[in-house]
């Protein structure tokens, strides 16, 4: 195995273990921290795929901003045992069914999917110049539509918080 492969296996192991930790730890703060580790592992995968820009943005946006806000909120909440909502048996059954359905879908999709043989693509495919060119030519419309989506979300958030202040 080459060094890249070793790194790949290590990152995959790390990603899987930490994402399992996200689900299984009782403490929400630990969950968030494990999720951050997962993001790092995924960013490492991006780097292996020579997608440096994606890796950096992944770290900045997810680990650097979104997860900080997650952590922020969880730290503000007082996690007492009594604060936990009652776990109704129905709720558990429903969640098991929902989770099972998701798993079925995933398994079905992965089984049905064909893994294309590894083709040698342009080594510069993940660099920022290539990405920018593709984004602003082939994917211009989806790019702009997504930015409008973000704008709408922002306006909505401002509206909601303003509304609360007035009442």
């Amino acid at each position: 195995m080459s060094l890249t492969q070793y790194i790949f296996w290590f990152l995959s192991f790390l990603a899987l273990m930490s994402s399992l930790m996200v689900v299984f730890t009782k403490n929400a703060v630990y969950s968030v921290l494990s999720l951050i580790i997962t993001f790092f592992a995924i960013a490492g995968h991006y780097l292996l795929l020579n997608a440096q820009f994606l890796a950096a943005v992944h770290i900045i946006v997810y680990a650097g901003a979104i997860m900080v806000l997650f952590l922020y909120v969880i730290m503000m909440l007082n996690q007492n045992k009594d604060a936990e909502p009652n776990k109704h048996p129905y709720l558990m059954i429903i969640s098991v069914i929902a989770g099972g359905l998701l798993m079925l879908t995933l398994v079905g999709t992965i089984k049905g999917a064909e893994l294309p043989g590894s083709t040698i693509v342009d080594a510069q495919v993940g660099t920022i110049e290539k990405l920018g060119q593709v984004l602003f030519t082939d994917f211009l419309l989806p790019f702009e539509v997504s930015s409008i989506l973000f704008l709408a979300a922002m306006v909505g958030a401002v509206y909601l918080s303003k509304n609360k202040l007035q009442s």
């Binding site: 921290l33 951050i36 950096a56 680990a63 650097g64 900080v68 952590l71 730290m75």
Partner: protein
């Protein structure tokens, strides 16, 4: 020499220099605070008190280690480690000088010339908040928690304005590599000429990101005792304090690289110095510029009182962010007008 060996030496050198500079920044901070308040400052340990940081370091080592029994012990230890790690990681992409030539081999004085250097820098800086947040939460102390929460909201708020200021810089330089940015400033003028507003925004945000006065709300003594490091003692406290000084040093280096020509200085090619000598002089000039900014950081700290929290948020969101957006717009318009687009 093996290129890998050279890189290893460079890493150790950068790490060591960073630590020494941070060590002596504490001394400089105390001295500058003293002279600005008509005092003398530390002058007992060694000649002119130059061994004072060493004595402080030894004191930090020798102090009793206290871990609160109600704290989350593992995270309590991880917190300062992350703060220190992220502080040290930023030095990787900074070009410390030109290139050295030994025989027919050329060695760049930059640990890694990433073509996304600015993004790397930005990513590491955005991770710096975890050290403070985790440490503050794990202490299980309300002052620490408030300090941690203040730190996180402050850093996230100012990261946005900082990112916008950098975007304008990237627009005018057309690259994300720090080496390239510095090289461009050798050929042309320093970026401060093109991006004065961007520089101002970046500078203010750098103060906020390093938690330095007047933005040191996460650790403001008068309200929060020690903020996020209230419960810390001994070397772990030292890590937090040290990380702040490393951050200050690195952000000075980044400001110089971005806006003040990095290691370049005027008329450097007219001096008739040969390659290696020029590189050494360049590195010294770079450090001189960095120290000017470190001094500036301290000068500001001992001049301007701390912001109130709502003022901080007002400045970040309602002043700096619109200014940064305007800066992007203006940069775009000027570039369009000059036909660079």
């Amino acid at each position: 020499m093996d290129p890998l060996l050279f890189k290893a030496i460079l890493v150790v050198a950068v790490f060591g220099i960073t630590l020494i500079v941070a060590l002596y920044s504490t001394f400089g901070e105390r001295k500058i605070a003293a002279v600005m308040q008509d005092r003398v400052g530390p002058n007992r340990a060694g000649p002119f008190g130059l061994l004072q940081p060493l004595a402080d370091g030894i004191k930090m080592f020798m102090k009793q280690e206290l871990i609160p029994s109600v704290s989350n012990k593992w995270l309590f230890i991880v917190g300062p480690c992350i703060a220190m790690l992220t502080a040290c990681m930023t030095g990787v992409v900074i070009p410390w000088g030109g290139s050295l030539t030994f025989g027919d081999q050329v060695f760049e004085l930059q640990i890694a010339d990433l073509n996304i250097g600015i993004l790397y820098l930005f990513g590491v800086v955005s991770l710096g908040v975890y050290g403070i947040m985790i440490g503050g939460w794990a202490s299980n102390n309300k002052f620490s928690l408030i300090g941690a929460i203040r730190a996180s909201s402050q850093m996230i708020s100012y990261e946005i304005a900082m990112g916008m200021a950098i975007i304008a810089l990237v627009m005018s330089t057309g690259t994300l590599s720090l080496k390239e940015i510095v090289m461009q400033q050798d050929a042309g003028l320093a970026n401060i000429v093109y991006q004065p507003l961007g520089f101002l925004i970046f500078l203010v945000c750098a103060f906020a990101e390093t938690n330095r006065a007047p933005f040191d709300l996460p650790e403001c003594e008068t309200e929060l005792i020690g903020g996020y490091h209230t419960e810390y003692s001994s070397l772990k406290l030292g890590f937090y304090l040290f990380a702040e000084y490393i951050n200050m040093f690195i952000s000075s280096a980044v400001i110089v690289s971005f806006y003040f020509g990095g290691y370049n200085f005027p008329f450097q090619h007219e001096l008739g110095l040969d390659g290696n000598l020029l590189t050494i002089v360049q590195t010294l000039v770079f450090f001189g510029k960095i120290f000017c900014f470190v001094f500036f950081f301290m000068w500001v700290r001992w001049t301007i009182p701390r912001f109130r929290y709502d003022q901080l948020m007002h400045l970040g969101w309602k002043v700096l962010l619109p200014l940064a957006l305007f800066n992007i717009f203006a940069t775009g318009m000027v570039m369009w007008g000059m036909g660079k687009l």
